[in-house]
């Protein structure tokens, strides 16, 4: 378990020490005490009934996951539910279910959360494809791609997702933490159980090379 002192903190964290001009008052850094607890610790407390821990867990993941889910759902599949509902629902289910599955570290928790949300998004798409069309509805199910698939290409996305599943757990967690969730490196280090940001960086880079090799196996000539 690493301590905060060994992590490289970003420039923003030190801004409060550099106030020199009367008109220049830097904003307070976003750090708070809860950032010192791992997600796994927050999860354990939340399951024990600690609503503050639950709140911190939500604050840590909901905004990122909402943005992620918004890109993965085609507009026609959103229906009356917003990505807010889908993401909150999924987080609730995951928090509930994780008594039996003990995540070793945050990376495993994130990977589990990520896969659960992906499954939920796919369920939502299948549901939307099957529902009867409403003559008044303005979003007709033209079954176009999600913004993500439109941007990257359905075939490339399929290859990427298949390759991701074939990676070892540690490599997959590195990709999910940095590439999918876009976490800053101190958080990535914590998630992967690495002692330094440099070690986390190496882990992500190596995982990327392995991912590329897996993807290349499926590429049609």
């Amino acid at each position: 378990m690493m301590t905060a002192a060994t992590l490289t903190l970003g420039p923003g964290t030190f801004m409060a020490d550099h106030v020199s001009s009367p008109t220049a008052t830097p904003g307070a850094p976003q750090a708070n005490a809860a950032n010192a607890l791992t997600s796994v610790e927050l999860l354990a407390r939340a399951r024990a009934g600690d609503d503050d821990a639950l709140n911190d867990l939500c604050a840590r993941y909901l905004p990122r996951l909402q943005r992620w889910a918004h890109g993965r759902l085609p507009p026609w599949a959103r229906g009356a539910l917003d990505t807010h509902d889908i993401v909150q629902d999924t987080l609730a289910q995951v928090v509930q279910r994780l008594g039996s599955f003990e995540p070793r570290h945050d990376g495993a928790f994130q990977a589990y959360l990520h896969q659960s949300l992906l499954n939920r998004v796919r369920d939502q798409i299948r549901w939307a494809q099957r529902r009867p069309t409403d003559a008044l509805a303005t979003d007709r199910p033209d079954e176009g791609p999600s913004p993500f698939e439109a941007a990257i290409g359905s075939e490339a996305v399929a290859r990427y997702e298949a390759a991701l599943l074939r990676l070892k757990a540690a490599d997959r967690e590195a990709i999910i933490a940095r590439i999918e969730l876009g976490l800053p490196y101190p958080d990535v280090a914590r998630a992967l159980g690495k002692p330094t940001v440099a070690a986390a960086h190496v882990a992500v880079s190596r995982a990327l090379v392995k991912l590329a090799k897996e993807m290349a196996l499926d590429r049609k000539p």
Partner: protein
């Protein structure tokens, strides 16, 4: 088999860092070697960028898009080193700059060049300095303001993310709950601005960003200061209403006509009513203030309204309540 492991590793390291990869140069210099792997890495890079900003192909996921230096661009302004131009418009120019005192990068907004009556510049400076006193998580933080080299400018936190305008283009219209949450955040930011006696004057989807962590940020309070039309608080209420209308329909409201329900019949009645009230042609019938608007939206999504507090506190209480209730029930 990897022919040039160093090349592939270097490209992977750049992607993991969020740095732009010079694909053309690599293709020219290393054609034929590891083409397959590099092609896959290029896709992964686009995926990383999409998740950061919603925009594949944007040059550098970890920074703001900065155009190459223009000859007429200033190099230094006050104590700031200008790194590049982000955009220019009628209300002035926006640069990415390095603050040599704070020792961090900032976004610098400079008043348009030209001759102004002395009173205008002094007033703009005073209002800009006033902005530095406002702190709100949903309002871009202004660090400082000054007059130098004959121009008034202010410098603020560089927000990394996309505008709601871009989000609309990329992801399509928003649902009512997502829009209501954004509206809540913007109301809170506007309430903080109004409490200081300032009117924002330019609330649009282009002026509201969603940063990397999903935070809603209202930008560019300086739009009106640098030569816009006079605006009232009620104009800001209308602006938030117009923003919500835009987010759920991808169109702009036409003054005097209410046809939100015709465009989106699936919207919940109470959401539509709130937006329509904000858009009322008669300012006296709109919400009397951003706080009242916020309370109505909060009632919609079950959130706790800020009610004038400086720190938003538990903004996610709905999610927490629902999840906590499920945990206690123990069932699905």
């Amino acid at each position: 088999m990897t022919e040039n492991p160093d090349l592939v590793s270097t490209v992977a390291a750049s992607i993991s860092d969020g740095l732009a990869v010079e694909w053309e140069r690599i293709a020219e210099q290393f054609a034929g070697e590891d083409d397959d792997l590099l092609a896959e890495l290029k896709i992964v890079e686009q995926i990383a960028r999409f998740h950061q900003t919603g925009l594949p192909g944007a040059p550098d996921a970890s920074s703001i898009y900065v155009r190459p230096a223009h000859r007429s661009q200033p190099k230094i302004w006050a104590h700031l080193l200008i790194l590049g131009r982000i955009e220019s418009g009628p209300s002035g120019e926006l640069y990415l700059a390095h603050d040599t005192k704070l020792r961090c990068d900032v976004a610098l907004k400079l008043m348009p060049e030209g001759r102004y009556p002395a009173g205008d510049a002094a007033r703009a400076l005073k209002e800009a300095q006033h902005l530095t006193r406002i702190r709100h998580t949903n309002l871009v933080t202004v660090f400082g303001a000054a007059e130098a080299s004959g121009r008034v400018g202010l410098w603020m936190e560089p927000v990394r993310g996309i505008t709601l305008d871009e989000a609309l283009k990329q992801h399509g219209t928003f649902g009512p709950r997502d829009a209501a949450h954004i509206g809540l955040d913007v109301c809170r930011a506007v309430a903080a601005v109004h409490r200081e006696g300032i009117v924002h004057g330019d609330i649009t989807a282009r002026n509201v960003m969603r940063d990397e962590s999903g935070r809603t940020v209202l930008m560019d309070c300086a739009g009106r200061m640098f030569g816009g039309l006079p605006r009232t608080r009620s104009d800001d209420i209308y602006g938030i209403g117009a923003l919500l209308f835009h987010l759920v329909t991808n169109r702009y409201p036409v003054e005097g006509r209410t046809y939100l329900r015709a465009l989106r019949p699936d919207l919940p009645d109470d959401f539509a009513s709130i937006v329509e009230r904000a858009l009322d042609a008669d300012p006296r019938r709109r919400f009397p203030g951003a706080g009242a608007f916020e309370v109505s939206l909060a009632g919609l999504v079950g959130a706790v309204a800020e009610q004038g507090s400086r720190h938003p506190g538990r903004m996610l209480s709905t999610a927490v309540k629902r999840i906590a209730a499920r945990l206690r029930r123990g069932g699905p």
